[in-house]
Symmetry: C3
Subunit: 240 residues, 3 copies
């Protein structure tokens, strides 16, 4: 539970020191973004190890889980090749994480707890970054929120498709996709209010809110309800 | 069985009234297109309810089924972000339909029969619209027909992948993909013959033909045959 | 085992005759590329026949397996519609092969052996062509190698997703993806050394190396090891 206070502390610190807030927020967002790539590549490596896959599978799943959401986002926005391909840092982090956790098996409990926190913050960050990019590309609020959500949960969906698992966003879950949607919605709302040039501050704030919601819903076991059983009987005839 | 006569009636009406036929056809095509989004989001919600999924799953499947085909089409054509993201009507219809049928369970038989008809007309519309867009983007006839077919069946394939079902286009089916291909082929053929500016009339005609073929093949149980058992024995040695 | 010597012979021949080497290499690469489309569409048809699918499924799987990798590559590079849609030769070969092997069942052993060789050479060719395109689009070496690998194995992954099989690149395999990565890496390395205008010669060389590695690893049963069992015990507490 240390990442939220830390992130807030960083923001407070740069304001106190008179540092360029938007630039510093941009840096923090980039670090959170890359931490998210590493956390998701690690989580994919746990699944690859369970199935006794070889190195290629670790790499494929690491890239799919860590970079898949952003690649889908950039492919849909059509403003040039995905940032995952043009900025070598992304691919290096995804592949490097996959190689490290192919070689090393981690079992300590505090480690997985830490990864869960990083994953939650990354979920919020990805939702916020995706929505921000969509807004800057001129999309309406609703599609921008969708694109933020896709950015955040897309990598996990591709990973689950490759592993032939039911995608993690389908039920039985705490507010996973919902947290990403919340972060994306905060960005879309805040963009209308924040002064120009403060986009990265908005993203950071939204990431913290989304990540916090994800962690709280996990700890408290909050879930969305299943489909309601209200039945609309039109002329009363039942089908099957 | 009322949508075909209705659509034809609309065309007849605008001709009789001396209204701008291409513009009116364009409007009819747009309405059929959005009706198709709603019909496919509804059909996805039936599958989501069977599996007792939560609201997020209803939304994900509604968007995938209703907008997936068009998003694949626009991503491949690379003429800017998909229309599903730039025209908020598409996303609103898909999400709105998913929310409504998350809250309400419909059991009446005539309702599902009506949805089947709308789905068939939408299949033809999507095949025709996709082929039209491809032709206007300068693609050759064969790729244009492929793209029309992908537009029509792509959403259902993505939905089935997410649900880990055998895609509906693979066998055991009436002429589903075939009807979309027929609509796309009519557009490609008609474009060579129709006067300029009448693209939307062509699309409407092709949608009616494709949708009609889909409905007739369903009622009569028409299917494509399985792979033939003609064996080419080269030197007569069998493999395994 | 005749395609490698043949390809080398062709290169030798054009050099001996004083023919324009880059142009001739480009032609050879195009032929290998299209042979790969046919080989993959054939291999997909074998799977479709096993499942007693109809013609539509043969066509869908043939297109997915034969053209999927290149379509993903071109979609990510975002330099216009995929070559599989703009050059009708690709779609014609994929669909034509699917139709032929829907009608005809081939059982001879030498035939499948020949297809395996073509498939290996195609794997190398696709890896090399994909990396070359990525380099020309200005990507860094690492993303270029990734994109070459995706080009080579992407079609098979889409095919396996549609068939709900574990993707062929995940373990239990000889050096399949690894051979494609090797071909892509050769291109990236050679591009730094080769004189300008000799890109297609580089691709041909890389394709032969990648294809050769694929065949040799198949014959000798070379595999990558499973994930190591080195455990990092941090404070010694085990999870689960």
């Amino acid at each position: 539970m240390s990442s939220l206070p830390e992130a807030l502390h960083t923001v407070g610190w740069v304001i106190a020191e008179g540092v360029d807030v938007p630039a510093a927020s941009g840096e923090v967002v980039r670090v959170l973004d890359l931490l998210g790539v590493a956390a998701n590549a690690f989580l994919a490596s746990v699944l690859a190890r369970e199935r006794r896959f070889d190195l290629v599978a670790f790499l494929v799943l690491g890239v799919a889980a860590g970079l898949g959401g952003g690649m889908i986002r950039d492919t849909l926005l059509q403003q040039g090749p995905p940032v995952a391909l043009t900025d070598p840092a992304y691919l290096s982090v995804a592949l490097g994480t996959a190689v490290v956790f192919y070689l090393i098996r981690v079992e300590a409990r505090w480690w997985r707890g830490g990864i869960r926190i990083i994953d939650a913050v990354a979920l919020g960050t990805w939702g916020a970054v995706g929505a921000q990019k969509a807004v800057l590309a001129g999309l309406h609020p609703l599609p921008a929120i969708l694109l933020g959500t896709i950015t955040a949960v897309g990598g996990g969906m591709v990973r689950d498709l490759l592993l032939q698992r039911t995608p993690i966003v389908f039920g039985g879950n705490t507010l996973y996709a919902t947290s990403a949607t919340a972060a994306a919605a905060v960005v879309v709302l805040a963009d209308a209010l924040a002064p120009e040039g403060y986009e990265s501050v908005t993203v950071l704030l939204a990431a913290v809110i989304g990540g916090g919601l994800c962690l709280i819903s996990y700890r408290r076991g909050w879930r969305l309800p299943e489909a309601r059983e209200w039945r609309l009987r039109l002329r009363g005839r039942r089908v099957e």
